[in-house]
């Protein structure tokens, strides 16, 4: 292989990559926050005593879990505007798509967490006269958060990866900058490798945290 590596130009493109990193982080934080909050309400719908509400929650989850994320993003940018009669910026379309996708997956984490809490916890609280709402808030949810923490950090890792899809909508995040730079400099090997390493550096701490939490839970159980 006679390829001449030239990593010196990587230093030149670092400022541009850094701007991409910031956009990626922004997208990551927004989608995770919106997804976790919205997912919580979707999970409540999933376990609602009212069948139509349950069906709505279920449909939402299955829709977003079973259609490729890439199609969801493209749909929100090109198709959704036709429905609402207003154009979305690429960033907003991407944030919307990824947030809803994250909500669907988080909803399932909440739901399985809530359902994993033993009946006895509800009964212990109800036996001292607590309302269902208070029981849920004070007794059930804190245990769900604890128990599902590894699953949530795992989801955070997935969301970080999914943000790279926003590059197809020309959102100026890390992947997009990498693609533009590599065709500008004709140096895809160095530049895309660098981009990969930057993702690794961003995401690995989260993965590590997730598996550390899982190990700790296993030891406790």
């Amino acid at each position: 292989m006679g390829y001449q590596f030239d990593f010196s130009m990587v230093v030149k493109i670092l400022p541009v990559l850094w701007r991409g990193v910031l956009v990626t982080l922004e997208l990551w934080v927004i989608c995770l926050a919106v997804g976790l909050v919205l997912g919580f309400f979707v999970s409540l719908a999933r376990i609602s005593p009212f069948a139509p509400v349950r069906l709505a929650g279920r449909s939402f989850v299955e829709l977003f879990r079973n259609i490729p994320a890439l199609i969801q993003l493209i749909w929100f940018f090109y198709a959704f505007p036709i429905l609402i009669g207003a154009q979305l910026t690429p960033f907003v379309a991407a944030a919307l798509g990824i947030s809803l996708n994250t909500a669907a997956f988080s909803a399932e984490i909440y739901r399985s967490g809530i359902q994993s809490i033993e009946r006895g916890q509800w009964e212990g609280a109800m036996a001292i006269g607590m309302s269902r709402a208070d029981t849920f808030r004070r007794v059930i949810l804190p245990q769900v958060f604890r128990r599902m923490l590894p699953a949530f950090t795992n989801r955070a890792v997935e969301v970080a990866k999914v943000t790279s899809l926003a590059s197809v909508l020309s959102v100026h995040e890390l992947m997009y900058q990498g693609r533009v730079l590599s065709s500008t400099y004709y140096r895809p090997l160095e530049i895309l490798t660098t981009v990969g390493v930057v993702y690794l550096v961003m995401i690995y701490p989260m993965t590590w945290t997730s598996s550390a939490l899982e190990r700790r839970m296993r030891r406790k159980a």
Partner: protein
């Protein structure tokens, strides 16, 4: 229990008339009449599946009865509605059930402590969330209840670090903190290692000395004999025989009661 020697006081605190409970097509309680007066200590004994737990759970409305009436301090629980065709049904508001459950405390076989709260937080929870007491007052009261069950040195310890006997005593303190008028125990020592049973039974006996009104489901017949002012032998969802401990354990009148006592005594009397 009206047919037995009259108790210390007047009107029943807790009373059931023809109490029934079905799960689907299976009727588990087939018409239970019960009169619990202040200071009564009632031991409920009977074979597995005879409906002991279901009876307790209907009395504090963890399960909703499917028939009959329950009175707490003379007041009927639930609202009777008459449909247009004349059929009647009983509905319960959550508020009413919450109040009944606070007034009729329950201690479970599996403790059901909140694992993410320390002992004292477990006991404070009802005071703060249900009774809306200020934190400081709730803390003082909780500390007092834990002292009563002999756990002053475990206030800030989490349930996971307590022995089964200690957990059960925290659960008793948690129930006591709500000032219940009646306390229900469903086999409070059944999931404990044998060497831890004694401490929980002693705690229950101190409550008896305080004159608390209690119903206790147990397989420890020896303890039931010492503890109870009345004993109920439940068989297949009906009160098969009832009387004082002396009557039921020393001189049972019915064949099935006699057989049950004989069978169980090999282990526990």
């Amino acid at each position: 229990m009206s047919e037995i020697a009259p108790s210390t006081t007047d009107a029943p605190i807790l009373r059931s008339e023809n109490l029934r409970k079905s799960f689907g097509p299976i009727e588990v309680l087939k018409g239970i009449d019960l009169d619990v007066k202040r200071g009564d200590r009632i031991a409920i004994i009977g074979g597995s599946g005879s409906g002991k737990s279901t009876l307790l759970r209907c009395l504090n409305f963890m399960e909703l009865p499917t028939g009959g009436k329950v009175f707490l301090e003379g007041e009927r629980i639930g609202t009777v509605r008459t449909a247009r065709d004349g059929s009647q049904s009983v509905t319960y508001s959550e508020r009413e059930l919450m109040s009944v459950r606070r007034r009729v405390g329950m201690v479970f076989q599996q403790f059901n402590l909140f694992p993410h709260m320390s002992s004292i937080e477990n006991v404070m929870e009802g005071l703060v969330t249900v009774m809306r007491r200020p934190k400081s007052e709730a803390r003082a009261r909780a500390a007092h209840e834990l002292e009563r069950v002999g756990l002053s040195d475990k206030l800030d310890v989490y349930p996971g670090r307590l022995s089964g006997g200690q957990q059960q005593r925290v659960a008793i303190a948690r129930a006591l903190a709500m000032d219940p008028e009646v306390l229900l125990f469903d086999e409070p020592t059944s999931s404990l290692d044998p060497e831890l049973v004694g401490e929980v039974l002693r705690t229950i006996l101190t409550l008896a000395e305080d004159g608390r009104t209690m119903l206790l489901v147990t397989h420890e017949l020896g303890f039931a004999y010492r503890f109870a002012t009345h004993v109920i032998y439940l068989y297949d969802g009906v009160v098969h025989e009832t009387g004082t401990g002396e009557q039921i354990f020393r001189n049972p009148q019915k064949e099935k009661t006699r057989a049950f006592i004989a069978r169980s005594s090999e282990f526990s009397l």
